[in-house]
């Protein structure tokens, strides 16, 4: 093959890449929060809304879950300026990932609304619980239990999905890898280090989510990561 691995030439990029990883995590977290807000609105509309609200939500979900996220960000970054809406790369990427996540999280959250524990509600009602008590002691804890693993998995996927930001020149982990590669041309070494950092990030996120899950739900929660 004639290729000699020379990690020595790229070690000095590691702090730079780790800085990028921190930016990736921030983007993921920001987009996740925005996605939850949009997803919640859509899920409420899908589960309880009138025909108009449900129709709008369904159209949103259909569009954003059936087109590639990359196309959506391209549209925001390259097509919107033609309509005089100009966003810098970071804002375009954050907006794109958020809108996309909003579609997927709507479906996840709606499944939580639809899994209302009818038996437990009957029990609560017959014990004399008011609607507020049912929400607080029965419905919301149940929904958290049902949704937590799915939402946690989505967060992990979003951490990995932020790599798309690099394509638009954002200095996330992938973006900094592209920069470092342009400087050093040590693609195998740099990309293997980047891959290792992504693995470490998802493992850390999985451990953190499992820990929170144990504290929140008092049972072991398994994530795909």
């Amino acid at each position: 093959m004639g290729y000699t691995l020379q990690y020595g030439q790229v070690y000095h990029y590691i702090p730079y890449l780790l800085g990028g990883a921190w930016i990736s995590l921030q983007i993921a977290f920001l987009c996740f929060c925005g996605g939850i807000a949009i997803g919640m609105l859509n899920a409420v509309a899908l589960a309880f809304g009138n025909r108009l609200a449900a129709g709008v939500a369904r159209a949103y979900v259909t569009f954003f879950t059936n087109t590639p996220g990359l196309v959506q960000i391209y549209f925001i970054y390259y097509a919107l300026p033609d309509l005089h809406i100009v966003l810098d790369s970071v804002h375009a990427v954050v907006l794109g990932i958020t809108l996309n996540a909003g579609g997927y999280l709507a479906l996840i959250l709606r499944s939580g609304f639809l899994s209302v524990p009818v038996n437990e509600i009957d029990a609560g009602v017959t014990l004399g619980m008011t609607r507020l008590m049912l929400l607080r002691y029965v419905i919301v804890p149940h929904m958290i239990g049902v949704l937590y693993p799915a939402i946690g998995n989505k967060f992990i996927l979003m951490v990995l999905g932020t790599a798309v930001a690099g394509v638009f020149g954002v200095e996330d982990l992938m973006g900094r890898t592209i920069n470092a590669n342009a400087e050093s041309f040590r693609s195998i070494e740099l990309l293997s280090i980047t891959a290792a950092i992504y693995v470490a990030m998802t493992i850390c996120a999985t451990i953190a989510l499992s820990g929170v899950g144990m504290a929140l739900l008092r049972r072991r929660v398994r994530f795909a990561g």
Binding site: N119, D122, A123, T126, L127
Partner: protein
């Protein structure tokens, strides 16, 4: 007037009638057992009594007071005196065994925690689950879950306990542990209405048996009267069928 007086009670699911003109009386300390084929309205009667399904017509009078199912305050008062145990246990999965039993007296009746906890521990001791106080329902067998459900119902100190096929969802070897608890409650003169398919048990603990069919009470009497000398043709047919099945 009897402790519980049900007069001409009717109810529908959607448009189809599920109870029509049910009249029954239960005295304090009595155990009324509802028997009859599936779909005859036994469980529905319990759901109407506890206010999960609104009655279309008729009246229910508990301890001399007519229950107005359309008034939330009246429903709350009813649920303070009356409790139900469901076939599928219906335990709160996010709570421990102890919290399942404590939630109603603590959060709904707002009684002081030390007192409630002491009572809940005693109740769970009574149903043989002192070792499972901090377990979650999913960690228990069906029989254990049903015993927690009974303890939870007893925690509100009901004057009337409704039991909706409480052993039907259990494996055969777990039925007895639940029946033992109900037998104990009968000995303590708890007023109960029990829907059951355990005919031997019905015969043993019921003071009165009502046979239901197609949403009405076909025949009512002591266990001996119903099982040994059924008067109506429908009762004779049902009893002979269950005797053949056993």
């Amino acid at each position: 007037m009897a402790f519980l007086q049900i007069a001409d009670l009717s109810a529908t699911y959607g448009r189809s009638p599920v109870l029509s003109g049910v009249s029954l009386a239960v005295e304090k300390g009595e155990v009324l057992s509802l028997i009859g084929p599936s779909g005859s309205g036994k469980s529905t009667l319990l759901r109407v009594l506890i206010g999960l399904l609104p009655p279309q017509a008729g009246s229910v009078t508990l301890a001399g007071q007519r229950v107005d199912y359309a008034v939330p305050a009246a429903l709350r008062a009813l649920r303070g005196r009356c409790a139900i145990v469901f076939q599928q246990y219906n335990l709160f999965q996010n709570m421990t065994v102890l919290n399942n039993v404590m939630v109603a007296p603590l959060k709904i009746k707002r009684r002081p925690r030390p007192e409630v906890e002491e009572e809940a521990r005693a109740l769970l001791g009574k149903v043989g689950l002192s070792a499972k106080l901090h377990a979650h329902p999913s960690e228990l067998s069906g029989g254990q879950q049903q015993r927690v459900a009974i303890a939870r119902a007893l925690a509100v100190k009901p004057e009337l306990l409704l039991l909706d096929e409480v052993t039907s969802a259990l494996d055969p070897e777990l039925v007895q542990e639940v029946l033992d608890i109900i037998r104990l409650l009968a000995q303590e003169h708890m007023t109960m209405i029990a829907v059951s398919h355990e005919m031997g048990f019905v015969r043993e603990i019921a003071t009165k048996v009502a046979l239901m069919s197609e949403g009405t009470v076909v025949e009512i009497g002591t266990p001996a009267e119903i099982f040994d000398a059924p008067r109506s043709e429908r009762a004779r047919a049902f009893i002979s069928k269950i005797i053949r099945a056993h």
